[in-house]
Each structure stands twice: as C-alpha cells, then as structure tokens.
Symmetry: C2
C-alpha cells in the first residue's frame, strides 16, 4: 500500500469518517463508523483513531488533520473558536495540536460570531467552506482571493453563511433538523408520522409545506398541530404528514434565511444525499435562482486536505 | 354535609380536578390529584372517581359531569367530537353516558374542525367556553343569544377560538406549550436554560422575545439556536434564556393567531396562574387592546355546572 501524505478525519457528534490521502488529495482509503463523540470519549479518542489507522496499516509518521465536534470542549482537545469575520485560510494556520498523541494530530477551530444580538457558532461547516474558498481561488480570477456569496449547509443545525472574498462574514444557524427529530419522535405529532419512510423530495405534500411556511411562517406552530388533527380526523397517510412536516420546517428556514441574509439567488448548497434533494426541491419552490450544489462529504474532505497541506507543510505553517 | 346537586370533573392528560356543587353552582367541596389519563387507565377510571367521592361521602344518587381527555379514545368512554361550527349549548345535550357506571356519569364531547386545509380538535376547552357563552346570555342583551368574539386559551396546545352568537365558528391550535417543554428539556437549548425558575412575566428578555417573534416570526428557528450560542459564548443567565425562549414562542403564536383570525383586539384570555400573567404581558407587547381575562379553572367548573344543569335536569335534557 502507498504511504499516504496525511490522514483527514471528520469527527462529529454521531459519526466518524476518515480518509487517507496522497499529496494531491486523492483518496487512498477510507473508514466510517458510528463512533461519534460520546462513544469515542468512553473508548478513548486516540484508541479509536489508531485502531482505524492500524487496520489500514498507516505508519505513525503520517500526520492527521481533523475537524468537527472532536475539537469541542467535550471532545479530544478543545480547538478554540475563531471569531467571525475571519478568513478561511486562517483555519489551517490556527489548528490546535493534540499534545502527547502517538502521531502529529491537529484539530481545526470552529467559528464563533460574537455579535451581541446574534451570537452563533459552527464547528465542522467551516472546513467545508474552506474547500469552497479554495475552489474560488483556483478558478483563477486575478481580482479574487476566494469565494464570494452565500452557502447553505443543511443539517441538524442548518447553517447559512455569507462569504466575502474567502472570509466568513456572518452566518445564521437554524434548528431545522433537530426540530424535525424532536417533533417526529417526541411530540403529539409522533403517531401521525410513525413508521413513515424517509421523505420523498418529489412528494406534493413536501412542496406544499414549503410554500405554506414561506407564505405565512408565523402559522407554523398551528400547522404542526394540524398534522395531529389530520391524523385524528382524516387518517392522513403517515408519509404525507411527514413530508409536510419536513416541508414546513425547511420552508420556515428559507424564509428566515431571506430575512437574515437578503436575496438568496446564487446560493451554493453544500449537501449530500437526501438533504441535498430536499433542499433543491425547496429552493425551487422558493424560486431561488442559480443554485449551485457541492457534495458535503467531498467538501469536508477537500477542506481537510487543504488544511493539512498548509499545516503539515515541511517548510512552515506548522500547528500551534 | 349537604348533599350536592351534582359532581363535576375536569379530567385531563395529567390532572384530575373534581368539585361537588349545589344547584346554583356553588362549590361545596373539591379534590385534586395528578391522576391523569395514563395513571387512571391503569387504576381504573371508576375506581379513581369513586375513591374521591367516597372520601367526600357523596351518595351514589348524585350524578357526575365530566370533560377533557377522559372522553378521548384512550379515556374512560369515547365522547365523539361535535363538528364546528357548533352551538355550545349542544355540548350538554350531546353528552355521552358512561354505561354500567355505579352512578349516572356523562362526558362532554370535544369539538372537531373538519376543514380540509385546517383540521383541528379540542377537548376540554369547549367547556370553558360554555361558561363564557352563558355569561354573554346572562348579560341580558335581548338581541344576543351568547358570547361573540375571540377567546385565547393558553396551554400545552393553545387554542384561539372565534365565537359567534354562542357558537364555536372556527379555531386554531398552536403547539406553543409543547414546543417550550420539548426545547427546554430535550434539545441543544436545554443546558442554556437548565435549572431556571419559572419565567417572570416582567422579565425584559420575555418581552423582547415576544417583540422579536412578532416582528420576524420566520427567524424563530434561528433565534432558538442563538439561545445555545449565547450560552456557549456569553454565559447568558439561564433565567434570561428561558424567558426569551418563552417570549419567542408566545410571540410567534400571537403572530400566527393574527394571521389566522384577524384583529385580536377584545380577545378574552381564559387562563390561570403563570400562563395568565405571561399572556397578559405578551398581549401588551403585541398592543392588543381591550383584553378581558377569565380564570380558566372557574370557567371549566362553571361550564361543567351549566352542562350538568341541562343534562341532569329532572324534566328532560338527558344524556344519550
């Protein structure tokens, strides 16, 4: 097996994804598991990392670059937030070294927005935007140092980010995914959606939910209860109710992003799989023009590679 | 002890309240417990009721009128919903008899709104409005048969009801209280509000939350996450965060009620205790004029008395 240039790891609350990369960022091997934060804290972060690397036969001389909740206060080693506005290339320069690890291990910082009225935080998404920023630079516009525009990163806590010239200017997090899970499993809506398969992005009930929330977001608290009443009174199918629930929450998020960040045309949607398809459909309902899409997983890997390239460069950079 | 004319019971998901009343509705005695639906189903509904009545020495000849979730599918005996629009005096006429009970026991029906786009249900609140309706009639306007106007009944599932001439025309339920509990205990906001005392209606953070949600209800999903970020970044006190959480959700409810039901001036707020004070403050922030207040508990007791008076009248009425 070829010895990789570095290892990159996206280590979140509930998942662990590792890639070994060559110097150009090509994937040599990968590992995935459900060893998120809680599981890994119990087992030992280094033990989890090294067991995957042993399985791949990666020697101790190969350094590892990480991002995600592994750098939170309850992770392996806290990587303090950088304050927005902040240039994304600062991420790599300010990566935090994990002391006394068997190999060189660094964790990328998250970003904090310390505005009094709109405090916000991200940890992991900044790395995906590092890939976007690099892409802007490589596009070769002489007058541009990095990506300009809006990015939407759907998830448990969806992020909408305003990027200017390769820097994160400001951002807004929406609790969309978490609300969906809370309502789907722990509320009076639960029986109305119980056993429903994943939401079909083509479902008319999804699009109607998006449209209704965009038109009158203030009624969402009422429309949620109507899902229960529809189940009680009219036996609305669970897949229809769940598609509507998802549409209402995503529609409200888009309405909120518009209020916070202005026109959403040209937004880059950084998402994978089911979320990508749902948000594309929702963006169409909201008549957001010129949407581009990037695969979330590719972005996190490319962002980590970019950071590793800078931080582990023989000539300098280094890791604080 | 005087023998009561009848017994009335408000039997909900998580509480049991019983009063013995004379023929004019004056309270002779009362009993309260946490024997809600689940607890009572296990113990046996009749057993729960009779143990309280035995403690008060109420003979088997005294009939009992009930309302609330005791009449749901998972209650003692299902009392089928009446369809809105419906006159409130029909409630008593269509009370459902519990068969084979030791004494005459009747349960008031809830109300269903079977509109295709806005299905909704209530069970318990209709009885409080029966009291309001009776009050309108007693006010002695010759040209009025009952209360006209809007009623707001805060709770786990807050109801906003349009009443016309003693009939429930239409209503909208908001999941405000349930969302508050879900977010307070089971979400990433939980640590930001953990251990906070009940919300102080005079807290500036509560009023600001109401105002912010009224101004831009579509941003509530973002403002919720800001509560967590404020805790992480700025150590916002838990009582301030919880007051803001409550304000945001109640503000969004009021914005939604306005969208659904139009001008809210003159709304009768049917509430007790902490909810009454919070909603009065929120109504003031929303500049709702001419708000009247009725005590929720008094209303349910008076509504049940009115129903008992009609249904158990020696001369007729009767119970189906």
């Amino acid at each position: 097996m070829r010895v990789p240039a570095h290892v990159v790891v996206d280590w979140g609350t509930s998942s662990f994804r590792l890639w070994t990369l060559d110097a150009d960022g090509h994937v040599l091997a990968e590992r995935r598991s459900a060893q998120g934060l809680a599981a890994s804290a119990a087992e030992g972060f280094e033990m989890v990392l090294e067991s995957h690397l042993a399985a791949l036969g990666v020697p101790a001389g190969v350094p590892a670059m990480m991002c995600g909740m592994v750098g939170s206060r309850s992770g392996w080693k806290e990587a303090a937030y950088l304050d927005a506005p902040v240039r994304l290339d600062r991420l790599a320069e300010l990566a935090t070294a994990v002391p006394a690890a068997r190999r060189k291990v660094a964790i990328l910082p998250g970003i904090a927005q310390r505005r009094r009225r709109h405090p916000d935080v991200m940890r992991g998404e900044e790395t995906q935007m590092l890939a976007l920023s690099r892409e802007g630079r490589e596009a070769g516009h002489r007058d541009r140092k990095g990506f300009d525009g809006l990015a939407c990163l759907p998830g448990t806590h969806s992020k909408w980010v305003r990027l200017e010239d390769g820097a994160v200017e400001r951002f807004s997090t929406f609790m969309t995914g978490e609300l969906f899970q809370l309502l789907r499993t722990g509320s009076v809506i639960a029986p109305a959606v119980e056993g429903a398969p994943p939401v079909d992005p083509a479902a008319p009930a999804f699009a109607r939910g998006v449209a209704d929330a965009l038109e009158a977001p203030e009624t969402v608290g009422n429309r949620l209860f109507e899902l229960r009443a529809g189940w009680l009174l009219a036996d609305v199918p669970v897949e229809e109710a769940q598609a509507r629930l998802s549409g209402l929450l995503i529609g409200m998020e888009i309405a909120g992003a518009r209020q916070r960040l202005g026109r959403l045309d040209g937004t880059v949607l950084i998402a994978s799989g089911a979320a990508a398809a749902l948000y594309r459909r929702a963006f169409a309902v909201a008549e957001i023009a010129d949407v581009a899409r990037r695969d979330a997983e590719t972005c996190v890997r490319e962002g980590l590679h970019e950071a590793a390239r800078i931080a582990f460069a023989p000539a300098g950079g280094g890791v604080r």
